[in-house]
């Protein structure tokens, strides 16, 4: 029995480190290759030994698909391709291909340069890894090989985020990655064909939570920021450079404009300007409204939001700062956090989920005394807010395989002659009604063709053997043979309304292809012999006719 097998290598029952192995129709596809933000050791990357203990990655995997550029979906890619070793194709969309290496480099810098980690992938490895990437268009059907095809759909999670359909023959899997069904300020809603997959793999980070309406959360966010700024506090919003950051920027920009606020908004430098530039160049990936108006006004050129400088953190007075990274585990956001944490007028707003082990996670879970590096203890007096929760609800654990039996139908070629013949029969009275089809399936190597039996015999050079029956039916009728034939004809004509009954010039009667002839009886002139003749293929009708005629003819109508 054919089956589809799914084995999570990373994100089973956990958030971060997305990596799922799918085996379908004899093909092995890896979906995403993410890293875990909360770990600094081996657990940071998915466990590829599940594959490598049986051989090389390249031999086992037919392709790798990356759904979007978030590091929990692509962060382990250079490790996977360059350090473990994979040379096959890696598919992702154009924006993902553009942005992914930048985030990887950023991540590498924090890990190696700031934390001094050894045995990490290098800049060159990121470059080499990206050379293996094949960019895909939305809705493009990519033929990975003769049998495996993949197709990307808009997911609306971040710029360039995509859902993928993986198809082998008539079996298919849809992998959604992270997706978004409600269009937000800068992205549209996810969309996919009615493609009826055998299996849907979806990440359901928010599945057990009902989120308040988008508008409510936005209002709540603006209110919190506004209050903090009014009382002279500083607001820190740790974000990832791309994604939610742009949405919040657009939100704050319009709010500042409307309320005529003067407090400065900063966006931590580096990635951000670049990020906004990406949004500009890939504007076709944003939502309808932004695309329509971009010639007049580019939503990603902000008036109120300026680049941040490290020195600004000590400036007096209120300000709002977007800083990376989003989970307060390293970098600029953590630096600013340490500076501002002691003042209760200040506020930190966590706009996204934080994985276990990060500072972000600790303060969100209510911890107010944080142990920092060098046994230093940081007391958090600033207000801690969050915009949404994430709860996980994945079922299979890592390395555990879910098997889904499938029963794919078998595609064969049908000769048009046979199909049309069957369809023509079906045209009356109801074309939509299913009808019986009879033919012969010729199987030659892997070429399957369904043809009419006549054609099959012909193709194989076999002669048809005709089996014919002729039955003698005795009928009491003193009249002439011709008259008997006429009586037989009119009787059958009136009884067999659904059949074609004909009286031929030579005196014989036909019902469809069954021939009836009347002959004189050699001994009894009062009896006529009807010869009813049919082929094996018409047996039912033939034997029905004989039994019908055996009952005799009705008296001739006056």
């Amino acid at each position: 029995m054919p089956e589809i097998r799914v084995t999570p290598l990373g994100a089973g029952q956990d958030v971060g480190r997305s990596c799922i192995l799918v085996s379908i129709g004899g093909k092995n596809v890896m979906l995403d290759c993410g890293m875990h933000m909360g770990f600094n050791d081996d657990r940071r990357f998915p466990d590829f030994s599940y594959i490598t203990r049986n051989g090389r990655l390249t031999d086992f995997l037919d392709c790798v698909i990356i759904s979007h550029f978030h590091l929990d979906h692509c962060g382990a890619l250079p490790y996977f391709s360059e350090m473990v070793g994979y040379d096959g194709p890696i598919y992702m969309t154009h924006p993902t291909q553009a942005i992914c290496p930048i985030l990887l480099e950023d991540y590498r810098k924090i890990a190696v340069d700031k934390k001094g980690e050894a045995n990490f992938f290098t800049s060159q490895m990121i470059k080499d890894c990206m050379k293996k990437v094949v960019a895909v268009h939305l809705h493009q059907t990519v033929q990975v090989d003769d049998e495996l095809e993949i197709k990307a759909y808009y997911a609306g999670h971040v710029l360039g985020a995509a859902m993928f359909q993986i198809k082998v023959g008539s079996e298919s899997v849809v992998y959604t990655g992270d997706y978004n069904m409600t269009p937000d300020r800068h992205l549209g809603a996810a969309w996919i064909d009615k493609c009826r997959p055998n299996l849907l793999i979806t990440e359901s980070t928010y599945a057990t939570t009902i989120r308040d309406s988008k508008r409510c959360r936005e209002r709540d966010f603006l209110k919190k920021v506004h209050e903090a700024v009014e009382r002279g506090g500083k607001v820190l919003i740790p974000v990832f450079a791309l994604g939610r950051a742009q949405e919040l920027c657009i939100l704050l920009e319009t709010f500042w404009e409307r309320m005529n606020l003067k407090a400065p908004i900063y966006f931590s430098t580096g990635l951000t300007e670049k990020a906004n530039h990406y949004y500009k160049l890939f504007i076709t990936w944003t939502n309808q409204k932004i695309r329509k108006t971009f010639v007049q006004r580019n939503m990603f050129e902000f008036k109120h939001i300026k680049a941040f400088d490290r020195a600004f953190a000590d400036n007096p007075g209120p300000m709002v700062v977007f800083a990376t990274p989003g989970m307060l585990h390293a970098g600029q956001s953590l630096q600013i956090f340490r500076k501002w944490a002691g003042n209760e007028k200040n506020m930190v707003i966590m706009p996204g989920y934080c994985v276990q082990g990060t500072v972000g996670h600790k303060i969100l879970s209510g911890q107010r005394k944080l142990e920092m590096e060098g046994r230093q203890v940081l007391e958090v007096k600033m207000q801690v807010e969050y915009m949404s929760f994430r709860v996980s609800c994945y079922m299979p654990a890592n390395g555990e395989t879910v098997t889904l039996p499938t029963s794919p139908s078998i595609p064969v070629g049908i000769s048009l002659g046979l199909l049309k013949r069957e369809m023509a029969q079906g045209l009356l009275p109801d074309a939509k009604k299913p009808r019986l089809l009879h033919g012969t399936l010729i199987m030659k190597d892997s070429n399957f063709r369904l043809v009419s039996s006549e054609q099959a015999l012909k193709e194989l050079g076999l002669a048809e053997h005709q089996l014919r029956f002729t039955c003698r039916v005795h009928l009491h009728d003193p009249r002439k043979e011709q008259e008997t034939a006429v009586r037989v004809y009119s009787h059958l004509k009136s009884v067999l309304k659904e059949h074609c009954v004909q009286h031929l010039p030579d005196g014989s009667v036909t019902v469809e292809s069954i021939l009836i002839q009347a002959a004189a009886h050699s001994e009894d002139p009062g009896t006529k012999v009807l010869l009813v003749s049919w082929t094996y293929q018409d047996e039912e009708l033939g034997s029905h006719l004989t039994s019908l005629l055996k009952k005799g003819l009705p008296q001739a109508a006056s």
Binding site: H94, Q97, A98, H137, L138, H139, Q140, V142, H277, K280, F282, T284, F294, V295, S407, S409, P411, V412, G413, I414, S415, L419, A431, P434, L436, L437, H438, G439, T440, L441, M443, R449, L450, S453, E454, A456, L457, L460, L462, A463, E464, H465, Q466, L467, R468, F469, T470, C471, R472, V495, L496, H499, E512, Y536, Q537, E539, E540, L541, T546, S547
Partner: protein
């Protein structure tokens, strides 16, 4: 329906539409000043409301779309790529704007009457099918037409009614330009229209996917097969530099998208070395700004080099920098800001390339009298001599540098060798050398078998016969099949199944189990007794060995068997049962009394020796 281009050459029969009524133009002899906005619409052959789908290959090939979607009862779907739609909208917008901003006191249509047309001066008199010339559409019609387009991406497989699948492929000619593959499970037709093998800004042409075509429809070849686009660009730059250095102005009549991007890119590299950095470049079109902006956001549709730039992230086209450094300025029209910024000498890009309407008309009037100025024609769609005719006598220099990146005949033969279609179909004019150069046997399509050509309003049957279609066998049915090996490697299985057809998809399911006869309830009339003859009997094959057959008969209790030899076989007589069995190589005939029991017994004996199909 493949493409719906607008043939605008008929506008050459009309006078330019000046912004200001010019007495000189109105008094030119031999020309009649007529309603200027009439176009040829080539749709008289078929009922357009029966068209299900229109495939658009590039933005030039959709200019007639509003006529079709708005006025013919067309209810089908139009497929095009996103850049095609966006830039097509810009081209239409420009056209509508050019026409609408010139108010006309009156419009004439009576002249289209055949009797009156006869009296008109040539060439109007000779024009064919003037009755199909139409007024230009409005922006409202454009928007409505474009809203009917379904956006598609390259290599996207689109199912049409379950019967065929269409796929656009990059054609390398313009942003979002496509060739189309139309295929069923067993047949493949490629439509190659407006393709380019040169490396300019669009994504390169996808040739590999065109392989294994049964038929390749080839059209949209270069209009200037003798001109080399690279050479023309060089000539363009040097002429431009020469004029400007001598203090003259350069006028480039052009479309607002397409080749202009490449020209600006060449100039970007050229101006500094040629000492032109202080010369202003003006791009005047109602859609100039949109066109320049749109070009930057279609990263996915660009060639590899430009894509790499976007990844950096930098704008893919250098005209962004030209604008930033104020070397290139764009204006919606002559009026407004342009008049105050205008400095000479300068270079002006503006439309329309026919010189019949748009801002270009004004510049021709303005600069035509000075021999310092130059007009450089780059668009190949219009004959430049005809375009210039109403402006004669002209003092300004006229340079003809047609840049047409579409396939030439050398590239065509290379392409055909590469993709090897079984048949090529193309317009008639490609199968013979151009009339003006009848000795140039190289300027025609040369392929084996010879290309099938078509003419206007001709119906062509494509040279293939459909033999097979795909059908799916449900797994339950497949399990029940009993294959038998007839020859080594070839197996047969008889299939009796229920055919379900939905949306042109066929599925075979196991036949329902025969229902038990429900007793004599319904048997009122004889006609009800008719068996369901749809339960088909298989065909038979093989032959019957007489001796073994006779032995079998004896075994089953028949006695008194007599066998006679005949010319073709044998006759087995069962005298007691008054039965005769004729056995030949490939037929058996059982003749008996009306005894169903006997007949069935004999039948089963015969069938034992035969194979069923």
């Amino acid at each position: 329906m493949l493409d719906c281009g607008l043939d605008m050459t008929s506008t050459l029969n009309f006078l330019p539409l000046p912004l200001v009524q010019s007495p000189r133009l109105s008094n030119l002899p031999g020309w009649s000043l007529k309603d200027g906005n009439a176009f040829l619409d080539k749709t008289e052959l078929i009922d357009l409301s029966t068209v299900d789908v229109i495939l658009i290959s590039n933005y030039h090939c959709m200019m007639a779309l509003p006529y079709i979607t708005e006025h013919t009862g067309f209810t089908g779907t139009v497929y095009a790529t996103e850049p095609t739609v966006q830039i097509g909208r810009l081209l239409m917008e420009e056209l509508v704007n050019f026409i609408e901003r010139v108010p006309k006191a009156q419009s004439a249509s009576l002249w289209k009457n055949k009797d009156i047309q006869r009296l008109l001066p040539s060439p109007l008199k000779d024009a064919v099918e003037v009755s199909t010339w139409r007024r230009c559409y409005t922006m409202q019609e454009v928007n409505s037409a474009l809203s009917k387009i379904q956006l598609v991406g390259y290599s996207q497989k689109i199912e049409l009614f379950g019967a065929v699948q269409v796929t656009p492929l990059s054609s390398g000619y313009a942003l979002g330009s496509s060739n189309w593959i139309i295929q069923s499970h067993y047949e493949k037709v490629s439509y190659v229209s407006g393709s380019s093998l040169l490396t300019t800004h669009p994504q390169p042409m996808d040739q590999a996917s065109l392989k294994n075509s049964d038929v390749l429809v080839l059209t949209g070849l270069t209009q200037i097969p003798t001109a080399n686009p690279d050479g023309m660009v060089g000539e363009f730059c040097s002429n431009l530099a020469l004029t400007v250095r001598n203090g003259g102005n350069v006028l480039v009549p052009c479309y607002p998208s397409g080749v202009i991007y490449d020209l600006l890119e060449c100039l970007y590299q050229y101006i500094d070395s040629a000492g032109l950095s202080n010369i202003p470049f003006y791009f005047i079109s109602p859609v100039a700004n949109s066109s320049l902006e749109f070009s930057q956001i279609f990263a996915e549709w660009l060639c590899h080099n430009k894509q790499t730039k976007v990844y950096l992230p930098e704008p893919p086209f250098p005209h962004a920098e030209l604008i930033q450094t104020n070397k290139l300025k764009h204006y919606p029209s002559l009026h407004g800001d342009f008049s105050s910024d205008f400095r000479q000498p300068c270079v002006v890009f503006t439309g329309h390339p026919s010189l019949r309407f748009g801002d270009v008309v004004h510049f021709m009037e303005l600069w035509g009298k000075s021999s310092l100025n130059t007009v450089i024609f780059t668009e190949p769609d219009f004959s430049y001599l005809e375009a210039l005719a109403p402006y004669q006598p002209l003092a300004m220099k006229c340079i003809y540098c047609p840049i047409d990146t579409r396939l030439n005949f050398i590239q065509v033969s290379k392409l055909l060798k590469e993709v090897q279609p079984l048949h090529v179909v193309c317009p008639e004019q490609y199968t013979q050398p151009p009339p003006a150069q009848s000795h140039r046997m190289d300027l025609m399509i040369d392929c084996q078998p010879p290309a099938m050509s078509y003419r206007r309003a001709e119906v062509l049957a494509l040279p293939f016969k459909r033999r097979y279609e795909k059908i799916e066998i449900m797994p339950e049915l497949a399990d029940s099949l009993v294959p038998m090996e007839i020859k080594p490697g070839i197996s047969l299985a008889t299939v009796s199944a229920v055919l379900h057809t939905k949306d042109n998809k066929h599925v075979l399911q196991p036949p329902p189990r025969p229902t038990q006869p429900t007793g004599g309830k319904k048997r009122k009339r004889a006609s009800d007794d008719i068996p369901d003859c749809k339960v088909l009997k298989p065909l038979l094959s093989g032959s019957i060995p007489v001796e073994q057959f006779v032995q079998a008969l004896e075994k089953h209790g028949f006695s008194d068997i007599k066998v006679e030899d005949t010319a073709k076989g044998h006759i087995v007589l069962l005298q007691e049962a008054e039965t005769l069995i004729q056995i030949e190589e490939d037929s058996t005939h059982i003749i008996c009394d009306n005894d169903e029991m006997l007949r069935v017994r004999l039948r089963d004996l015969v069938l034992k020796f035969l194979q069923k199909f």
